[in-house]
Symmetry: C2
Subunit: 142 residues, 2 copies
Amino acid sequence: MLTIGYLAKMTGTKVQTIRYYEQVGLMPEPGRTDGGQRRYGDAELDRLSFIRHARQLGFSLDAIRELLDLSDHPARSCEEADAIARRQLKQVEQRMARLDLLRLELERMIEECSGGRAADCRVLEVLRDHSECLTDHESIGT
Amino acid sequence: MLTIGYLAKMTGTKVQTIRYYEQVGLMPEPGRTDGGQRRYGDAELDRLSFIRHARQLGFSLDAIRELLDLSDHPARSCEEADAIARRQLKQVEQRMARLDLLRLELERMIEECSGGRAADCRVLEVLRDHSECLTDHESIGT
DNA sequence: GCTTGAAGCTACAGCAGCTGTAGGTCGTAT
DNA sequence: ATACGACCTACAGCTGCTGTAGCTTCAAGC
């Protein structure tokens, strides 16, 4: 029987985060000792590892919920998992494309910085004058 | 005299967001009509454009506060603005490097997907088995 | 059996950076 | 005078945790 602290240590998760996952339904309600402390089995450790790995790959908790659901029903088609992963990949690619634009503009800004007074600073000037910029009106996706 | 709605439209910002910026001290408290509605001048429109552009470049509100402060004091050195921009650039580069790792792993996962039953799904399997993965234990920086 | 200290418990507030809602008021065109 | 869109305040909610306060439980050592 594993304590919450052991699961935390094994997966690099904070204890509170595990309780949070339970609260939002990603982790099951585990058994308890007479004193009310959570005790887990190996299945829960695996499940938590799965969740953490997926989080590291940038999957949202909702996406992970779907993936866990698929994982719990091995007879079902793999297509859905594939679709979720492809969606995630597309998002990653979009973020990278946006970041690349930002990188270019930041580099341009910095390169042109005269190092003089703020009045002549290209960094500030570029920010002030939107017209010479590459980016559109969308907010940056994190 | 410009209404809050006009500023919103001109800068692609939600009205509530402008009020939020005022609340957190990025935008000044503007004058009001007798009825209590906000009225702005051109300076505020410029300031808001500056903020939005910086947000699009991924600057945090705190960084923008610093940049605005520099912009308000044109006689000061440009070095600080340059440092802030360089910091931002470094963050962007780090995010891109991480995203690139994620992209590779996602591509690998998807490529190996058999298209069969979930039981054989590589996507799920890779998530289950952390040992074959490229990423470390840090959480993905957004 | 008793003590101690680490680890666990609940409940709740807070982070960034907004966004949405409810329930009301203002401004202006007709 | 009225209608209606734009505005107002106040507050809750989003994602995904993280931190705190104040308490209880567990396990090891004596």
